[in-house]
């Protein structure tokens, strides 16, 4: 009996070694690669013990759902600081829940606003980092490419090549919705790749015809018809705006008669007055149309790290973190132009945490990019601003291949906060060409807007 | 004839936290002959079940030797020809009587349904073969237990308290079955403390107390020596005290005297004495010595004498 026992001890030892070897050499690496729900960061995930327990027992997705509902509650209460960690935990628990990423980045980029409904754009790099994380974890669906591209295209409203990059990835995915695909053409247009955009329309049109033939479902024929009209419009615009003539580069643009000729002088000028501490009145001239133009206006630290002309380095975060630069100020708004002028009060006094005004000097930027303008404005200015000019502020450097309007002014901290020698004085800065205007002044020198209807 | 069971100095020692080492069974020397019904008697906790478990190889002895049917205990081959019915056994309640037999049969590799049927008939359960055990009465459960213990035609049966908790009719049925076993040439080892039962069916008994065998032998020998019991009323107290002696048991209350003397003692002298005291003699009964007496004498120590007198059976 003892002999058998001894043998069995030996067998047991061998089995233990076999099991341990299998586990360490094959099973664990393979499990980690293919089956792990990315549990990393469990300890740092700020979950309560019972939540850790829940997730250990496999209720990860369920728990993410519960937390996500709670995050929405915090959002309603305006407690933005509480939301970021929850969003992070949700994405750790359920890294494949598209909704959490999509809604999370949308919340962060759009809805963390001040009292005047201006977004806190310091959050945009964080939103983009979340988007990158989501894409890394869900590379096979179109959805987060779409969401990220849309963030660039619609919210950041700059750097069109970034939107193009994400939309190009988006259309490669099998699950992409046909109605989303023509966004790529629009992004190409902004990125000055007009011909590529048109070709993309044609590509989609071919597919739409095939789809509509195969399935007479109403939406299919609708998509086909929309593409047809888009292609028509684009071709007409390419001709009327002189795009094709410019491309020929043989002087035919200069010789011919196009809607974009002669370049129109927008006559930009601006004045900024500090009316109350942290409250600026921004007025100025813009000789365009009764309505339709929005000029970007930015107030930021003069030495804001990674700042670029009229924007920030949005792409600087690759990893999601909660590090909002709380000591820096960055305010961006749109100046709505009406009757050849703009006049807006930028009140930053209600949100001292969002606009801390910690440093001593501030840059005020005015920026207009026709590539992002409305089509009826582009009909005059062209996609690249060929039909637009300004004797003082035309800039062909800061956005490659596009003629933009860019002007800057400066204010000091004391001026904005009305402190020190500015305690009882209203600081005013203005462009050298600034002339006072009033809304009642008669409309002269209004740009004649050509239209597709021919009047 | 070789012994069916033989133990030599068989000992089982347990460790107890409060009491240290305890010999639950202490140097047991036991011999059971083939073909007899052997009664293994003792109060609760005397070591009966421990002894049986050692004989069955379910627990290992701490010291000593034991042989069952000539083989050392623990030899699995012996299990093919012995069987065991534990005290108040439990059978899987969801099974029918027939299924129980099939299950236990399968452990021997026996799949003979006719045999199972005849076993059921034998224990008078043929009509209840398809009822589940949960619907069986205690007596029926004990009988199905006996049936399962007969599956392998055992040469030796261990029955642990086979009649415990049964009604008188069930008692009789079980007793009859056990007597049949002996007639079939089987050896039956009964552990019990139901003495009247054992006395009726056993050939030989051993009495174990606190792990030690106190008595062992043929019932006839052990119970040798009948007694005579004399009962008289209106006996004066002075007279009653006269009868006290080393081998006499005297009980006196409310002027009634009961004197219990060994056979061969002078009955006439007692009666004369009582007449002289003008007592009225109620009865003079010669009585065989009972196992109960022996048991109580052996196990119960000095309190035994009193107990015997107060036993209602004795008075009646």
């Amino acid at each position: 009996m003892w002999k058998i026992r001894k043998k069995l001890y030996g067998v047991g030892a061998v089995l233990l070694i076999v099991a341990a070897t299998l586990q360490m050499t094959y099973i664990h690496p393979k499990w980690r690669k293919d089956y792990s729900p990315e549990a990393g960061g469990l300890v740092a995930s700020q979950l309560s013990p019972e939540q850790i327990l829940l997730q250990l027992f496999g209720f990860r997705e369920f728990l993410a759902g519960i937390l996500w509902v709670r995050a929405d509650g915090f959002f309603d209460a305006g407690n933005y600081d509480a939301i970021l960690p929850i969003i992070r935990v949700c994405t750790i628990l359920d890294p494949h829940n598209i909704d959490i990423y999509a809604t999370g980045m949308w919340h962060i980029a759009y809805n963390f606003t001040d009292q005047e409904q201006r977004s806190n754009r310091r959050y945009i790099p964080i939103a983009l980092a979340l988007a990158k994380d989501g894409i890394k974890n869900n590379p096979n669906t179109y959805e987060l490419y779409f969401e990220t591209g849309w963030l660039w295209y619609q919210k950041i409203d700059d750097n069109p090549s970034e939107a193009v990059k994400y939309f190009q990835e988006m259309v490669k995915k099998k699950d992409v919705l046909p109605a989303r695909e023509d966004l790529l053409a629009n992004a190409y247009f902004r990125d000055q790749k007009i011909m590529t955009g048109l070709n993309w329309y044609f590509h989609l049109y071919k597919e739409a015809i095939a789809r509509a033939k195969k399935d007479t479902f109403y939406a299919n024929s609708q998509i086909r018809d929309t593409l047809e009209s888009n292609i028509d419009n684009t071709i007409i615009r390419m001709i009327q705006r002189g795009y094709l003539a410019q491309k020929r580069n043989d002087g035919s643009y200069e010789k011919g008669d196009y809607d974009t000729k002669p370049p129109f002088n927008v006559g930009f000028s601006a004045k900024v007055t500090v009316v109350r501490p942290r409250v600026l009145r921004v007025t100025g001239t813009w000789n365009v149309l009764p309505v339709g133009c929005r000029i970007r206006f930015i107030v930021r630290d003069l030495h804001y790290p990674n700042a670029l002309p009229a924007e920030l380095d949005w792409n600087k975060n690759d990893n999601f973190n909660f590090n909002l630069p709380t000591n820096l100020t960055y305010m961006q708004d749109q100046l709505f132009c009406k009757d050849q002028r703009f006049d807006r009060v930028e009140n930053m006094s209600k949100d001292p945490t969002m606009y801390p005004f910690d440093s001593n000097h501030y840059l005020l930027e005015f920026f207009y990019d026709p590539a992002f303008g409305a089509p009826h404005i582009q009909d005059k200015f062209g996609w690249n601003g060929v039909g637009m000019t300004d004797p003082n502020f035309l800039n062909t450097q800061i956005r490659k291949g596009v003629r933009v309007i860019y002007a800057t002014l400066e204010l000091s901290k004391d001026q904005i906060l009305m402190r020190g020698q500015w305690q009882n004085r209203h600081a005013t800065v203005e462009t050298s060409n600034f002339k006072e205007s009033s809304p009642t002044e008669s409309m002269t020198n209004i740009v004649k807007v050509p239209s597709l209807r021919g009047n | 004839m070789p012994a069916a069971i033989e133990t030599i100095q068989l000992t089982k020692t347990y460790k107890s936290r409060s009491l240290g080492l305890i010999n639950v069974v202490d140097k047991l020397d036991l011999t059971v002959q083939e073909g007899e019904i052997f009664g293994f008697l003792g109060p609760n906790g005397a070591g009966k079940t421990t002894t049986i478990k050692m004989l069955l190889g379910i627990i290992n002895p701490s010291a000593g030797e034991g042989y069952v049917l000539g083989k050392e205990i623990g030899d699995l081959n012996v299990h093919k020809v012995i069987s065991y019915l534990p005290e108040r056994p439990y059978y899987y309640e969801y099974m029918t009587g027939m299924e129980i037999l099939k299950f236990y049969g399968s452990l021997f590799g026996i799949r003979d349904e006719k045999k199972f049927q005849s076993l059921l008939e034998r224990v008078n359960l043929a009509g209840d073969a398809s009822k589940i055990i949960a619907q069986y009465s205690k007596g029926m459960q004990q009988r199905i237990g006996l049936a399962q213990s007969l599956i392998n035609d055992p040469k030796l049966l261990f029955l642990d308290e086979p009649t415990a908790g049964l009604d008188p009719i069930a008692h009789t049925e079980i007793r009859d079955l056990i007597l049949q076993f002996r007639n079939e040439g089987r050896t039956v080892f009964i552990s019990s403390h139901e003495l009247s039962e054992v006395e009726r069916i056993c050939d030989r008994v051993a009495i174990i107390n606190k792990g030690v065998i106190e008595r062992q032998g043929h019932l006839d020998e052990l119970l040798k020596g009948a007694r005579i019991e004399i009962i008289a009323d209106d006996v004066p107290k002075e007279t009653a005290t006269k009868f006290e002696g080393p081998d006499t048991i005297v009980s006196y209350s409310s002027n009634r005297l009961i004197v219990d003397i060994p056979e061969g003692a002078n009955v006439g002298a007692v009666i004369d004495e009582l007449r002289n005291a003008k007592a009225s003699i109620v009865s003079v009964i010669p009585r065989r010595r009972r196992l109960e007496d022996l048991f109580v004498e052996t196990v119960g120590g000095k309190n035994a004498k009193k107990l015997v007198v107060e036993s209602p059976e004795v008075v009646a």
Binding site: L16, D34, E61 | K53, I58
Partner: protein
Amino acid sequence: MGAVWNIAATTVGEAIRRRVLLVILMIGVLLLTIIPSLSVLSARSDDSVTVGTMFAVMRGTSALLAIVLTVYMIPNEIERRTIYTILSKPVQRWQFFLGKYLGAVLSLLLMITLMTVFMLVVYAIFQNHHASRLLSLAQQPVMYWIEMSLLAAVAICISTFVTPLINIFLSFGVWLVGTVLNPLYDTIANNSKSIPIMKSISKLIVSLVPNFADYDTKNPLINPGQPIQNQGLYYFTTIFYGVVWIALLLIIGALIFDRREV
């Protein structure tokens, strides 16, 4: 082997009639049926929440079943004295032990199959009834069965030397440790910041504790799309790993049970 199978069969017969097990099973099935309504928590990811939660419920229920089923198995036989009638027959102790264990494994197979059927029916009704999807979902319960067989081996091994109540906690503890082993190991052993001794200790623990997390392969089922190479090999290896551990635990259990005074 006849005795082993017959003991296993009666064990199954008894297990499927134990009220406490049936109650646990019913609660599990009930939870499985209400899960689709919980998936409103996430409007677009309802499929992954449904599948993830269904599997979590199934795993938890199965583990509870495996533990409650197994820890009482041998102590009950001793308490009811059925073990004596069996061991007084020509049945070796290891045969009895193995029979009991196989009975537990077969009972778990029955119960997990029942839950799987329920889960698939509910899933087919509320989510998706494509045969290929249902078929791929059915793979995970197979892994759970192996996992629970391993857990049952742990519990029956421990049941040879401790009382059932302590065993419940011990087995549950082993399962818990074995479940968090992978993430824990990743956090410590694969982290450049951990100190070397901690790495060694974590490697030792991973070698000495059966790893239950290996059987949790539901993630690709919750989030389909990423192709996995050699899935068959992984399944085969983990099942083999489970069998090795089960054999080891049964040997230990049988050796202890052989010496045990019952």
